[in-house]
């Protein structure tokens, strides 16, 4: 029974097609798990596949170039392979870049993994003139080698057959120089300790045995180079030997297309116009194409609420039950699902950009500018998406490799004024500004968001994020045509995750707000008599120095956590007037200056609970999420304070 169940790990370089193969093998039957002992930030994708009566539990390891450093993703992969000992490790390699890809393979062999080498992208390798003798390669490495195409079914059978053949670990260990081998043998008493011996030599620790330290020194002196260079040299020299016997390079003339495309897309004059055009199209598609389905969803939930409300009234259910169902449950679920069109379109386009190789070029184009902010070129995309909606924007940070970049980008993205803040501006600007100043006022708010993001970015870089490295080396993968299946699966996986994870928690938070707005029993939903109203009255003095220290503003700000546009509706509920008549009420409560201060606060404080829980989901840390929320509240308060008090001083 148990021998028909195999654990299969997928290992390989980034861009070798690992995720494509994972999706192709598991289809939709996959889920996100956690690496033991690690608090997240690197996702563990697991899935199931079946073949010929066998069940495979497939684990997608992080894409790495090596296993020998202390980088988090490499550590996770190495620890998994060593401790959980998967039955088979499939090492997927890019046949067009075999030399570089085999560097990881050497280490997998030295680790003693039961390996299957899957050569991917053979068409591209052939187009570039490489002829690979798989039999020879298999003999030289001591592992089964199969040719596959991860994007279609080519070689799938062969790969699955090789997996159920349960290969043993290779008995052909790489041979480096005599000198090096001698010293490895001194440390590694058995061949299975070889990888650990090399790892120990590469990574010096304070409490390492004296033997390791002296051997390292000795090797460095003998070779006249440092240990990392000696070992990398040795591995590449061995690989060169293997390739010399198993691969023939026909003609060098058939240069790949990538260089040609790069000459256009990263061209000094054309690079930015093309990028701007692509960003414009993405923005339009995400938020314009996403708008009608969003409206349908809103209409549907509005209709559902009405029907349920009427139904409950017909059976004379108590008011609080009606309110729970209509405002709490239906409103809460609707408030989450409404983001779905944006998220689906965003991930669809993002995965096309990623799979085609263009995303890496965006990083090259924008790096100079984003580097000034202490960020990575790729951070630009989440930031610009933030103008539409913070939720997909924060989710887009997962395209960034380093945790530091992801976190810093997550903290800055919410200052980009999202679409939901617009109705608040429209209401207040419409009341307090002369028509000819309205456009400028709106623009100024958006611009202020960017300036604040800049200043907060600089402040964070000199304090909390001081330690992080900012240097980078980025692989620019060859341009490839994305497959529809791959893009759709990627989109589906991300959308599903949003629905399941964020959905449950955002929904729960919405219920809590509903409860606060409804208690004690019998009060009007969200009125000043509710618990929420009382909280509003209690915290109102905090906003006194900002010019809007009254309970209604405080309640609207709290309700705005559900979604910023709720601020407008809340004023309507609180004053018992429709949105058209709000102007007459608000003009008595706000001065033009305090209205600006209020809009600035709405611009800068926590975008909404959905965004906050997305930060939690992406960072995996409550501590970080609370820090993010606190930071946004403090920044909002301080900037509004400066605006209001500064305005008073200037005599407005």
């Amino acid at each position: 029974m148990s021998d028909k169940k195999l654990t299969v790990a997928l290992a390989g370089n980034p861009n070798a097609g690992k995720t494509t193969l994972f999706n192709a093998l598991t289809g939709m039957r996959n889920h996100v798990g956690n690496w033991p002992g690690k608090t997240v930030s690197v996702e563990r994708m697991e899935g199931k596949a079946e073949y010929n009566g066998y069940t495979f539990e497939i684990v997608d390891l992080p894409g790495t170039y090596s296993l020998s450093s202390r980088a988090l993703d490499e550590e996770i992969a190495a620890e998994y392979l060593r401790n959980e000992k998967p039955d088979v490790v499939v090492n997927i390699v890019d046949a067009a870049h075999l030399e570089r890809n085999l560097y990881l393979t050497m280490q997998l062999i030295e680790l003693g993994c039961p390996l299957v080498l899957a050569l991917n992208m053979n068409k591209y390798a052939e187009a570039e003139g490489f002829v690979i003798d798989t039999n020879k390669l298999s003999k030289l490495l001591g592992v089964p080698v199969v040719k596959i195409e991860a994007i279609d079914k080519t070689g799938r059978e062969d790969l699955l057959k090789a997996i159920i053949g349960k290969p043993a670990a290779s008995n052909i260990l790489p041979r480096y120089s005599e000198e090096l081998e001698e010293h490895i043998a001194e440390i590694a008493k058995t061949p299975s300790e070889r990888f650990d011996a090399l790892f120990a030599l590469l990574n010096n620790t304070e409490d390492e045995p004296a033997e390791i330290t002296s051997t390292r020194k000795h090797i460095e002196n003998m070779c006249g180079a440092d240990i990392a260079e000696v070992i990398a040299d040795a591995r590449y020299a061995y690989i060169a030997g293997v390739l010399h016997e198993s691969v023939h390079h026909m003609q060098a003339g058939g240069k790949s297309q990538t260089g040609r495309i790069d000459r256009i897309l990263t061209n000094r004059w054309l690079g930015f116009p093309i990028f701007a055009l692509i960003m414009y199209v993405i923005f339009q598609l995400v938020f314009t194409l996403g708008a009608p389905p969003m409206e349908w969803i809103e209409t549907f939930f509005g209709w559902l609420g009405e029907v349920c409300g009427e139904g409950l009234a017909a059976v004379s259910a108590p008011d609080w039950v009606t309110s729970l169902v209509v405002d709490g449950i239906i409103g809460g679920v609707g408030g989450v699902i409404v983001f779905l069109p944006n998220i689906i379109i965003m991930f669809f386009l993002l995965s096309i950009m990623e799979a085609s190789g263009y995303l890496a070029r965006v990083a090259v184009l924008m790096d100079r500018i984003m580097h000034a902010l202490g960020l990575h070129g790729k951070s630009f995309i989440p930031m610009i998406l933030g103008f539409g909606c913070s939720v997909p924007a924060i989710m887009a940070t997962r395209t960034l490799e380093s945790e530091r970049d992801r976190k810093l980008t997550m903290l800055l993205t919410p200052y980009m004024s999202c679409g939901a803040r617009m109705p608040v501006y429209i209401l207040f600007v419409g009341i307090f500004f002369a028509p000819e100043w309205q456009g400028i006022a709106m623009f100024a708010l958006y611009f202020l968001g960017i300036v604040v993001a800049l200043l907060v970015g600089i402040a964070l870089r000199h304090t909390v994020f001081k330690a992080g490295k900012t240097e980078f080396v980025l692989e620019l993968p060859p341009y490839r045509l994305p497959t529809i299946k791959g893009v759709l699966l990627h989109t589906w996986n991300n959308a599903k995750e949003f629905l399941v994870r964020a959905g449950t928690i955002i929904f729960a938070a919405c219920l809590v707000v509903w409860l606060l707005a409804s208690l004690p029993f019998g009060v009007e939903y969200g009125s000043l008599d509710s618990v929420l109203g009382m909280i509003g009255s209690a915290i109102a003095p905090i906003f006194e120095p900002l010019g809007f220290g009254f309970a209604e503003a405080a309640v609207a700000i709290i309700m705005g956590l559900l979604a910023k546009e709720v601020v407008v509706g809340t004023f309507g509920t609180l004053f018992g007037v429709g949105e058209e008549a709000l102007g007459d009420v608000l003009i008595n409560l706000f001065t033009p200056l305090s209205s600006v201060s209020f809009m600035v606060f709405v611009l800068l404080y926590v975008p909404c609970l959905a965004a906050l829980f997305t930060i939690k989901k992406e960072s995996g840390s409550w501590k970080f999420t609370i820090f993010a929320a606190a930071l946004m509240l403090v920044v909002a308060w301080v900037v509004s304070f400066i605006v209001y008090q500064g305005g008073l001083l200037l005599g407005f």
């Binding site: 170039y65 090596s66 020998s68 450093s69 980088a71 067009a96 870049h97 030399e99 570089r100 560097y103 570039e128 180079a225 990392a228 260079e229 990398a232 040299d233 590449y236 990538t258 260089g259 790069d262 000459r263 990263t266 061209n267 000094r268 004059w269 690079g271 930015f272 890496a360 990083a363 090259v364 184009l365 790096d367 100079r368 500018i369 580097h371 490295k469 240097e471 980078f472 080396v473 980025l474 692989e475 620019l476 993968p477 060859p478």
Partner: protein, 80 residues
């Protein structure tokens, strides 16, 4: 032909050079570059630079890499 040494930063686009030495590169980055195949003596082609002048794009063992000029400055190369 005379072999001359210079920093990778100053190599003209289109030229292929040989890695000679890492001077001012951090330990982590040097290791990453070694793993990516930029071992001493290996060949590197400078493909070009980003529209804003930084980073530069390299080709190493058939793979394209982007590297900031500040880091490229710390890599000594030889002409071939």
């Amino acid at each position: 032909m005379q072999k001359t040494s210079m920093s990778l930063r100053d190599v003209k686009p289109g030229l292929t050079v040989q890695i000679a030495k890492f001077n001012g590169v951090s330990e982590d980055l040097r290791r990453r570059l070694l793993e990516l195949g930029m071992t001493c003596g290996s060949r590197v082609t400078v493909c070009g630079e980003a529209p804003l002048g930084d980073p530069i794009v390299l080709e190493v063992k058939g793979c394209r890499l982007a590297l900031r000029k500040k880091e490229a400055e710390g890599i000594e190369v030889k002409t071939i």
